[in-house]
């Protein structure tokens, strides 16, 4: 188990947990976080340095609510990192929706001057505003309480229209947003890599619960490029519950929320 070194409040209900430990991790990978007696869940590594890493968690369900009660000095089980990683191409635009930003933030830190589009429902849900104040960052909020009013997709469309040097878009957020981002990228003929999410149990490719078509999300993903996603007929439509039953994305989110 690892000891929490510090806790940073990122937004309402969203905290980052820092550990003074080295893990051999590439941008886009995740760790499995264990709270004895509660549950174990995947968390994207959102900060990474030689001797420190963190993940960022939004208190939504049982597990994340218990997690967000923890303080400096408390211990959690960490295994991993697992999964594949982003390709690290320069001249990039990185799009994060809500806490999806946490899956692309280690990537942002690893890239040279990417354009960052950071979207949230409202100002109080926005994360990493200060962390990236020196970056070329466009902030959008659905309600206009901070930055531009509207969705990340509209901002991306504009960026790609104006900035012809961008060669790749990296994205993580709600699946519907990823779907729209992919469409915009296809329209502009720009490559895209997205970090996807499915219910996960083992994290190392054994249990078969996180499958999306014939891909095992935890080891073949979580990062997939536009070409790979175009072959996934379940993308944007279906996901599997904890039992393995295939349901619509909408039902999946209503159960997993």
């Amino acid at each position: 188990m690892m000891e929490i070194g510090r806790v940073v409040q990122e937004a309402r209900g969203i905290k980052s947990f820092f550990f003074k430990n080295y893990i051999n991790c590439k941008p886009g990978q995740f760790v499995m976080v264990w709270l004895p007696g509660v549950d174990e869940k995947p968390m994207a590594v959102s900060y990474w340095k030689k001797n420190e890493f963190a993940f960022t968690s939004s208190a939504i369900g049982n597990f994340t609510k218990a997690l967000n009660m923890l303080k400096k000095g408390d211990k959690v089980g960490i295994r991993g990192p697992y999964g594949n990683s982003f390709s690290l191409k320069q001249n990039a635009c990185v799009v994060g929706g809500g806490v999806g930003m946490a899956s692309v933030s280690a990537l942002i830190d690893a890239l040279k001057n990417p354009v960052v589009i950071n979207g949230a429902r409202s100002k109080e849900h926005l994360i990493y505003r200060k962390r990236y104040k020196n970056k070329n960052m466009i902030v959008t909020t659905d309600d206009g309480s901070y930055g531009r009013k509207g969705f990340t997709t509209a901002a991306l469309d504009e960026v790609l229209l104006k900035n012809k040097t961008i060669r790749i878009v990296y994205v993580c957020g709600p699946e519907i947003m990823i779907k729209n981002v992919l469409e915009i990228c296809n329209k502009h003929r720009i490559e895209c890599e997205a970090s996807l999410e499915r219910y996960m149990s083992c994290g190392f490719g054994i249990c078969g619960k996180c499958m999306i078509n014939d891909r095992i999300l935890c080891i073949d993903g979580p990062i997939f490029n536009s070409r790979q996603i175009s072959k996934l007929s379940e993308f944007g439509k279906f996901a599997r519950l904890k039992s393995g039953k295939k349901v619509t994305i909408k039902e999946y989110h209503s159960v997993n929320a």
């Binding site: 549950d39 089980g77 149990s201 490719g205 054994i206 499958m211 014939d214 039992s243 393995g244």
Partner: protein, 300 residues
């Protein structure tokens, strides 16, 4: 060199994906088939949808792999809708089933049979589910379950999957054979535990789980060896097969096919091809032309 006949099923090689490792979705079958498995066993299904146990449900420590997934599954009715049929895929498929009550074994078997799998495997042996009665630990109960499934499986061959957590696995295998089983799958996991010293608690949310992977192999070999001396029906030797050498050991102990599950954790989905290549290399070196020549050769 590796072609194998299991009951009436022709396999391109004796490696079979064990139940519960991947094998949850229809599309995973094609993927495992393409990667070289001779046959694919589906994750066990019962009469209802089950979420399984809380996480952590899996743990590995060097050669020991532990799980207490608690038989999650979409349930046979939902699976029948998803799979539609199992006889038109690129590899032979074995449908794994179970129930809580004996009657349910029959109901699930009938629905599974409607999908036309190459074989039906009966999981009477999961160590971390309260059946009410331990079907795997009693000759009478094993026989009853076998008969009910046979009656509902039509012409599809039936394999009974045994547990090592018994005093005498020979008498259970014998009971299954006498009740009409066409094959024996041996073995399921052995009950086990892992403790985290920092947490000072068991790692698995269910506390007790099942041991698989390399640490299970010597137990599996012993079981297959004993069963081979007791029954005439073919055995699917399962437990800790990771390298070609392990598969050869299983076959020398008397198994017809070898199940591979946790091995995927250690060597990836490519394990089926790797194990086959390693078996063939040994066979060429030792001038063995077919597996028949060495099957059961460890016996006097």
């Amino acid at each position: 060199m590796l072609q194998t006949k299991l009951c009436n099923i022709k396999l391109k090689n004796p490696t079979i994906l064990a139940s519960g490792i991947l094998g949850v979705t229809k599309e995973s079958i094609g993927r495992i088939g393409k990667s070289g498995a001779g046959a694919v066993t589906l994750k066990s299904l019962c009469h209802e949808e089950r979420l399984g146990n809380a996480n952590p449900a899996m743990f590995s420590d060097d050669g020991a792999f532990l799980n207490a997934v608690g038989l999650p599954g979409q349930g046979i009715d939902s699976a029948v809708k998803e799979f539609q049929r199992l006889d038109n895929l690129s590899v032979p498929v074995i449908g794994s089933i179970y129930g809580y009550r004996i009657k349910q074994f029959g109901i699930v078997a009938k629905k599974m049979a409607s999908l036309k799998p190459s074989m039906i495997e009966v999981d009477i042996s999961c160590p971390h589910l309260d059946y009410g009665k331990p079907y795997y630990a009693d000759t009478q109960l094993t026989a009853e379950v076998t008969k009910v499934v046979k009656k509902n499986a039509g012409r599809i061959p039936v394999s009974i999957k045994l547990s090592p957590n018994v005093y005498d696995i020979k008498e259970i295998a014998h009971a299954a054979e006498k009740a009409g089983a066409d094959a024996i799958t041996a073995i399921n996991t052995a009950t086990a535990m892992a403790i985290d010293v920092d947490a000072r608690k068991p790692v698995l949310a269910n506390k007790i789980g099942g041991l698989s992977g390399p640490a299970l192999k010597p137990i599996a070999l012993r079981c297959v060896y004993e069963i081979y001396e007791t029954v005439k029906i073919p055995i699917i030797g399962t437990g800790g097969v990771t390298y070609g050498k392990d598969a050869l050991e299983m076959i020398m102990a008397g198994s017809t096919c070898v199940g591979i599950g946790s091995g995927i954790y250690y060597r990836g989905i490519g394990i089926f091809k790797k194990v086959c290549d390693e078996m063939e290399a040994w066979m060429r070196k030792n001038k063995v032309k077919s597996l028949k020549e060495i099957r059961g050769c460890a016996h006097d």
